[in-house]
């Protein structure tokens, strides 16, 4: 399903190419125009736009960026090394801290990889609850992004709305798992516990509130003229560049690639039981990336609603030995996390712990495009582009 197949999309694809050419032209102009004395601008490590401690060093010519490079490592915790001295069940408490706004979603692909190696499948009820909690962490994560987006552009109100409504979701996650930020709820073979009584009804009420929140943000922020002029046509990423940098999630779909790991792979989660739309946008600019995330939050509330209606009964834990030894082998599992594709390449040697775990986090790839993307942009646009790429430092540094 490429976007260039039908005539309407072909026109839009053309438009995307034109804006790409325009950004390349801005690049070229830098070289011909009268050169002024360069200046190095340091952004961060502490900056509200960085969701952690990312430092960006930008070399400026006038108001345009000639060269920019993020400097990572202020939060490197060496999780890949640490997993090698942990047992499989212990690893979840570490990887919870990778993307700390959507913690539960980090646990799922690792547990699925371990289950794949063990040839175990969680019971249906556990799979459904996993999917519900997965989507709830997406909502908690992305709603904060939507609120924070306003702050980057000088609008204070949206962030209060976001914190207000994210709290409802965090309360739900807390009442089901016991942890607001780091649930550590997923187990090999299922879940630690079943849902508490009354949780399903409560969740439905909250999903309605979240849909209202999305409407509020859409009218307040996305309809705002300043917001549009700050984001439309800014930071355009063409389809092929997005692919070769390994961008994923909303960033990739905003560049017109119709690919969602929830829909496009067979994975033991309940996504094939629900009906949802995968949104794409042909523009590839900052606005498209933000807009896709807004639509996805809305879509996630609908997924949760459908799952709540059809949740099967039964146990939430498969029969798994008390002391878990994972058979020898290699497995790769990735899922569509709030920030994009998150995957684990797990190598096991039939031991209590993994031999090697490669953590493929979405933000690392998403942010690796910045040296290419920031060239030629104006200084204020650095902030909006970084905000629209949406990264979390724990997810870059791991």
């Amino acid at each position: 399903m490429t976007i260039l197949n039908d005539p309407v999309s072909a026109k839009l694809g053309n438009r995307q190419q034109l804006s790409y050419i325009a950004s390349q032209a801005a690049d070229a102009r830098l070289n011909v125009e009268l050169e002024t004395e360069g200046m190095t601008l340091n952004i961060g490590p502490q900056h509200p736009a960085t969701h952690g401690t990312l430092r960006i060093i930008a070399r400026l010519d006038g108001e345009q960026v000639v060269w920019a490079e993020p400097s990572c490592g202020y939060m490197h915790r060496g999780y890949e090394k640490l997993t090698e001295v942990r047992t499989f069940p212990q690893v979840t408490s570490l990887i919870n801290r990778i993307d700390w706004l959507g913690s539960f979603a980090n646990e799922v692909p690792f547990i699925l990889a371990a289950e794949k190696l063990m040839n175990v499948e969680a019971p249906p009820r556990a799979q459904w609850i996993r999917t519900i909690l997965f989507e709830l962490s997406r909502i908690a994560n992305v709603s904060l992004f939507l609120g924070d987006l306003g702050v980057q552009m000088g609008a204070i109100t949206p962030v209060f709305l976001a914190f207000r409504d994210r709290e409802y979701v965090l309360n739900l996650i807390e009442s089901a798992t016991g942890g607001r930020f780091h649930p550590n709820f997923d187990r090999i073979g299922g879940l630690k516990d079943d849902l508490p009584a009354g949780w399903i009804d409560e969740t439905k009420v909250v999903m309605k509130k979240l849909r209202n929140f999305c409407d509020e943000i859409e009218t307040l922020l996305f309809g705002n003229e300043i917001f549009q002029s700050r984001t439309r046509g800014i930071g355009v990423i063409p389809r092929d560049v997005a692919l070769q940098y390994g961008l994923s999630g909303a960033n990739l779909r905003a560049s017109g690639v119709d690919w969602d790991l929830r829909r496009d792979q067979t994975i033991p989660l309940a996504y094939d039981k629900v009906d949802f739309k995968v949104w794409t946008h042909p523009d590839g600019d900052s606005f498209a990336r933000c807009w896709i995330r807004l639509q996805e939050t809305r879509e996630a509330t609908k997924i949760v609603d459908q799952l709540l209606d059809g949740i099967p009964s039964g146990p939430v834990m498969a029969k798994v030995p008390k002391i878990i030894k994972v058979p020898e082998g290699e497995a790769w599992v990735s899922t569509e996390n709030p920030l994009g594709e998150m995957g684990y390449y797990v190598v096991s040697r039939g031991d209590l712990g993994p031999f090697r775990v490669k953590i493929r986090s979405a933000s690392f790839n998403n942010i690796s495009i910045t040296p290419w993307l920031l060239r030629g942009v104006y200084v204020p646009d650095i902030i909006t582009i970084l905000a629209s790429l949406y990264f979390i430092l724990g997810d870059i540094d791991r």
């Binding site: 399903m1 490429t2 990572c72 490592g73 490197h76 060496g78 890949e80 090394k81 640490l82 090698e84 001295v85 942990r86 794949k116 063990m118 040839n119 175990v120 499948e121 073979g189 092929d240 560049v241 692919l243 070769q244 940098y245 390994g246 690639v257 690919w259 496009d264 792979q265 067979t266 146990p315 834990m317 498969a318 029969k319 798994v320 030995p321 008390k322 058979p327 082998g329 290699e330 497995a331 790769w332 990735s334 594709e341 995957g343 390449y345 190598v347 040697r349 209590l352 712990g353 031999f355 090697r356 490669k358 493929r360 690392f364 790839n365 690796s368 495009i369 290419w372 540094d397």
Partner: protein, 235 residues
């Protein structure tokens, strides 16, 4: 809810269909056959796990060319990740040794994973076709003497940061990489932390608290004896 089976038995809870008849994965088998034709002698070994994934190991010399060919001929246009694996088992085990006692001798013989391997370090790249969503894991040996392999930055620009990470963590050199600065570690850091013979220092200076905190499992003889003796002592 827990297992009633005797110890050591691997549980098979998955659907009976999986164990009854082997799944035939025509799409992946066809893809591997096509890759073998495209790459020819560059392919060392392949592995298909039906319904799961593909592994292809290529010659070290044709690392970059193979990936380029896969990108162009088979449209593996999505760069997922690049990393390395150190196949030498760690001489420190899982870091649970008591530092006050002499270190136990461990078997550090190199045993490679899927599709084999002749060297200690192996490269691992995952690419995906963005239309069919078929993924592929590509491996290549990294020579033991030089620890150097060609950079694939020219094929996938996104590999730049991944190669920098592999360089500082595993000490692998990438010929043709524009800028192999450290990503995470300080400039003057010595050693390569992700190599298996790099000790996890936190576990070296202080014993892992898990060693002393472990409660003996009920039913183990030592535990009961100890309890009994302490009771006697108290009375």
């Amino acid at each position: 809810m827990h297992l009633q089976k005797p110890k050591g038995e691997v549980n098979q809870l998955s659907s009976p269909a999986e164990t009854a008849a082997p799944i035939v994965d025509t799409a992946r088998d066809a893809m591997v056959a096509a890759i073998r034709t495209t790459l020819g002698a560059a392919v060392v070994d392949t592995l298909v796990k039906p319904g799961d994934d593909i592994w292809v190991r290529v010659m070290t010399e044709s690392w970059c060319a193979s990936i380029q060919a896969l990108k162009e001929a088979h449209a593996f246009d999505y760069f997922c990740f690049l990393s390395a694996i150190d196949w030498m088992p760690s001489p420190y085990g899982r870091g649970e040794d008591d530092p006050s006692e002499p270190a136990p001798v461990r078997d550090t013989a190199i045993r490679p994973g899927y599709t084999g391997g002749d060297t200690r370090m192996q490269m691992l790249v995952r690419l995906v076709n963005s239309v069919t969503h078929l993924g592929i894991n590509i491996k290549a040996d990294v020579p033991n003497d030089s620890f150097t392999i060609d950079s694939i930055c020219t094929v996938f620009a996104g590999a730049n940061w991944h190669e920098r990470e592999a360089h500082e963590m595993f000490g692998i050199g990438f010929a043709g990489h524009p800028d192999l600065r450290n990503m995470y570690l300080p400039v003057d850091f010595e050693g390569y932390p992700m190599r298996k013979d790099f000790p996890l220092l936190a576990r070296m200076v202080k014993p892992w608290p898990g060693i002393v905190d472990v409660e003996p499992l009920p039913g183990s003889g030592a535990d009961e004896e100890k309890d009994g003796s302490s009771e006697e002592g108290a009375s």
